[in-house]
């Protein structure tokens, strides 16, 4: 098993863990974290892909990952701000959203 394949599989595993975290646990913060885990998994796959393109390392996936991180940050921020707003309106943070 080549190195890049190993990282790719790890990335996909991370994606799966994140998926589980997003779908099953009820707490909203868990879900938001889970989305980030999923994102990380995809990024790992991308980075591994960059390595697989030997001999030179492909810069394109790196650019994609950078962009992806920006997007993930924005999404997470929006989600958290929504949660805060909902929390302010009520004191119940148990959300079953995302199911």
């Amino acid at each position: 098993m080549t190195q890049d394949l190993f990282y790719s599989i790890c990335g996909i595993a991370l994606f799966g863990i994140g998926l589980y975290g997003l779908l099953i646990p009820p707490h909203i913060l868990q879900k938001i974290l889970a989305v980030n885990v999923m994102g990380t998994g995809v990024f790992m796959v991308l980075i591994a892909t960059a390595q697989s393109r030997a001999p030179a390392i492909d810069p394109v996936p790196h650019a994609m990952v950078l962009t992806g991180i920006v997007v993930a940050v924005a999404g997470t921020a929006l989600a958290l701000s929504l949660v805060c707003r909902i929390y302010a309106l009520s004191d119940d943070t148990e959300q079953d959203a995302g199911r």
Partner: protein
Amino acid sequence: MSGLSLPALLPWLVGLPLLAAAASFAGQRWVAGRWLNAVGAAAQLALAVLVLWLLAAGDSGLGQRYTLGGWGAPLGIDLYIDGFAGLMIAITAALGFVLSLYSCSYFTEPDQAARFWPLWWLLMVALNAVFLAADAFNIYVTLEILGLAAVALVALQGGRPALQAALRYLLVGLLGSLCYLLGVALLYRAYGTLDLAQLGQLVHAAPLSWAALGLITVGLLLKTALLPLHFWLPPAHANAPAPVSAALSALVVKASFYLLARFWLETLSAATTAQGLQVLGVLGAAAVLVGSIQAIRAQRLKLIVAYSTVAQLGYLFLLFPLFGRPSDTAGLGGAVVDAVAYFIIAHACAKAAMFLAAGNIQRAAGHDDISRLHGIARRQPLSLFAFAIAGASLIGLPPSGGFVAKWLLLNAAIDAGQWWWLITVIAGGLLAAVYVFRVLNLAFTDSAEQPPAAEAQPVLPRLLPLGAFALAIITVLLGFNALWVLEVLDIGVPPLQLAADGEAL
């Protein structure tokens, strides 16, 4: 095309709304400035029309490509336009214009308006970018912009239900995007390019292609809200402000459908199977039935409209089984695409009109509970009338865009020899009649049980019902001008593809 170069105009389709977003953000405290947004929308519409006109006038019979910053594929981020994309751009601009006008009257509080306009323009940016993108990763980015802008717009209403719906929408959107991204990553791993056209030539049936296709499909289906994955749509669309609901139902869900169509029938068509296409069709048919029935059961006006969106989206998915597996030549075209594209346009206008009308009614009555809306026709005759016309289009009654769309769809189904879709289409129309007329009956019942409303009924600005009505009129006009729309659609389809169509059927 000596003076005006079509490819040079393409970035402006993205850039103009982006500028508008920045401007509206900067001048957000300037109350009178909100009307400038309407001017911006008009400019966008003019641009779109110009682009479309140039596209139609081009004698190449092929789409147009613009390489951003001079970086061509595979590295660069290209913009590409063909007939299908052009129409999507046009309908976006047209609806954007009407909805912008409407929003100028709708968001009267400076605070609300200040939050609304930048987001609104971002939504336009994202939509135009999605339709123009010729690069898989670029699509991811635009999808995310689209999702985030849409979520923020849904949350604009501020109430708890709206926030919850927005949050759910956001998580779903992120999930969808990540699935899509993973799919793109796999594609890049397999073929080393992100350009759609190049991918289309490279892709062949292989496990990695299938996996990528599966992930992309699931991600986009989630965003398109096809039947089993539609759960998030009704609350989100029903709780958003009226113009936002209209844009979401009319345009945003169509964007992801547009991508699905591109991937399945063009870029990744080598990896698709006939069974897969049929399954998508079956899901679509199920969506038509289930969505309609849910709409019939719904008790709130906007919820009815939202469920109706779920149902109407189902029709679009008949594209896949009817189109069949194209041969290796890429290109979207032929009778089935015509039908579905027309359907998208007709539904966009009708549904936007419906949401605006429902929003007006909700605002006038203070609620949108069907059972308490008797007598609303007296206060909002024009809105209800617009609702009726839009409803007729959804049912598929002539003369309306909906009728032409259904006619084309039925024709395509019979031509393809897949008569069973006929039943879906016709039954869907009948079910639509049930929920539309449930609402229209409001026009004929007087508010006998309601005491004369002593509290001053909110007086709506005149522009609000007019906005809904204008869209309804467009819906009707679509029923008369099908020919022109269909001509535009066929731009960008190589003649070869048309011939291949015939074989595939």
